[in-house]
Symmetry: C2
Subunit: 330 residues, 2 copies
Amino acid sequence: MDLTFLGTSAGTPTKVRNVTALALQHGNSRGWYLIDCGEGTQHQILRTRHSLVRLRAIFITHVHGDHCYGLPGLLASASMAGRKEKLYIVAPGPIKTMIEAVLLASDTRLDYELAFIDVGALGFRWEDQAVRVTTVPLSHRVPCYAYVFTENDVPKQLLTDRLEESGVEAGPVWGRLQKGENVTLEDGRLILSDEYTAIRRRPRRVVVGGDNDNPDLLREACAEAQLLVHEATYTQEVADRVGPAPQHSSAALVARFAESVGLPHLVLTHFSSRYQMMSAGGPQVSEIAVEARRYYRGNLHLAEDFATYFLNTDMSLNAPAMVGSGSFRS
Amino acid sequence: MDLTFLGTSAGTPTKVRNVTALALQHGNSRGWYLIDCGEGTQHQILRTRHSLVRLRAIFITHVHGDHCYGLPGLLASASMAGRKEKLYIVAPGPIKTMIEAVLLASDTRLDYELAFIDVGALGFRWEDQAVRVTTVPLSHRVPCYAYVFTENDVPKQLLTDRLEESGVEAGPVWGRLQKGENVTLEDGRLILSDEYTAIRRRPRRVVVGGDNDNPDLLREACAEAQLLVHEATYTQEVADRVGPAPQHSSAALVARFAESVGLPHLVLTHFSSRYQMMSAGGPQVSEIAVEARRYYRGNLHLAEDFATYFLNTDMSLNAPAMVGSGSFRS
C-alpha cells in the first residue's frame, strides 16, 4: 500500500507545492485511488507512474477549490487518454453540480461513464477488490470528510493440517477455498472456506483527513489505523493570530491527538503558503515539524510534493522515496 | 509591448507544455492582459514577473476546457493575493455560467468584482488607457474569437514650430495639448490639440487567434498588424489523417495565409500533444516549423512555454527571452 503526495499546499499553489491531492495505490493491478484533486493535479500525475486510465475512484473531502478545481481537466484528459471504464467520484453533492455545469459549458463529452456517489449519504461505504472505504465527518467551514482506507484483500492462509485431517485432498479445491469459496465435494460434503482458512495479520488501514479543526473526531477511526494523513496548516502561534474562523488545525493540535491514540505513523500536509522552503525568506515549514515533535513521539513526517510512502505488511512505513521531477518543484 | 507564452499545448498538458494561456503586457504601469486560461495558468504565472493584482482583463477565445479551466483557481488566488480592483472577463456567454456555478458550489467569495462582458455581443470593443481590443469571429466547433490588441497610447508629438507661429507660449498649455486636451487661452482663443500635435508612428497591433480552421477570416485584421499568434495544431499530413472534424489549422494553412497578407511576424502555438521535444520519441515539433517555412518567408517562431517576445516601436520583434523556470519545463 503506497501513498504519493501530489500537492501539499493550502489554498494556493506555491512554486514548490501544489494544492491538495494524494494518490493511494494498493492491489495487484495498477489500479489506484485519488483523494482530492486541486488544480494542476493532472499535471502532477504526468510525473508519476500513475495513469488516468487505471484510476479506480476519486474521493473529494470537501468543496473548497484547492481540493477540487483540478477535476474537470483531469476528467477531460482521462477521456482523451482513451479511458472507457466507469469512474467513481465520491464527493459532497455540490461537486456533481459543479462538474456537470463545467462539462456542459465547455461542450465536453467524456467517452466513459461518471458514477457520482454522495459521500454524505447515510451508511456510505465504497469498496472494490483491493480496498474498502468508509468516512468520518470532520469539522470545517463546509461539510468535510476523512476517508478511511482498509485493505480488502489480505490473503487467506489455508489450514492444511485441518484439510488433511478432514480428508480434503490437495488440488483445485484448496485453491477455491483459499479464495473464499465454499466447495461441495464429490462425496456431497460442503466444505466452508472460513473453517479451513485463517487471516494471519491485521489489514492495513490509512486515514486521510480533509480540512478539520477537531482531530479528536478521528479517534475511533484511528484506533485500528497505522497511518494518519492530516492537515497542519500552521503552528499554534500562527493559528492563534489567524483566529478560529478558517477552521484549520495547528501542528500541536494534530500531534497531541496522534500521541493520545498511540498512532504509529503521522504525515502532516496542507501547509499555509506563508511557509516557504529553507532557501526563501519568511517562516519555515520546519517550524511545523518542531512543534509536532514536541507532542508526538511516533514516526512523524511532513509531506512534500512527489514524496511516496510505503506502508508495509509488517505495518512499518518506509522513509519517503521522491518520484517525479520538475513541475511545481524548484 | 511584450507577450509571454504560459501554455502552448493543445487539449492536454505535456511535461514541457501547459495548455493555452498568453500574457500580454503594455503600458507604463505593470498592468497586463491574459488571453485564455487553461488549467495551471496560475501556476505558470508564479514563475513570471506578472501579478494577479495587476491583471487588467482576461480574454477567453472559446469555451473548450484547455482554454478556460484555469479560471476558477486563478480568480480565487487573485482574491487571496489581496486583489480589490474590478476584473474584466471578456468571454463567450457560457463562461459566466460556468464561473458562477463553480464559485457557488465551492463556497468561494471573491473580495473584488467580476465584470463579465459577452464577446459575442454586437459591436464589442474593450479598451483602457494602454490598449483597445476588438474581435474577429473564427471557425471552430464552438463560437471562437481572435482578439486584436492595438496600442492606445502612442505618444503625440507637439508641433512646436506651429505653436510658436501661432504665438502659443511654451508652458503648461503645451503639456495639456500633448495629452490630447483642447485648451482655451487667456485671450479667448480655443487651441485644438489635433491641430498642434501629430502621431509620428503607426500603433503596434497584435492579433491573437483562438482555435480556427480558416485563417483567411483574419485577413482584414492582419492588414495593419505586425504580429499574428495562431494555432498550428499539426502538420498538413497529420491534419489530413485526423480529418476536418476537430476544425484546427495545419502549419501549411496558417503559413500560406501569413505570406499572402505580408505579415512581418508569425508565432505558431497550440501544438498537439503528439509532438514531443527533441529528446523524446514520436513526431517532432520541428516538423511544424519546417512545413511553415516552406510557405512563409517572414519572421517565424514556434512558441514555447515561458518564451517572451518584445514587439518594439520600430515594429521589429526581439528573439524570445525565456522567463521563469521549472514548472512544466523538463
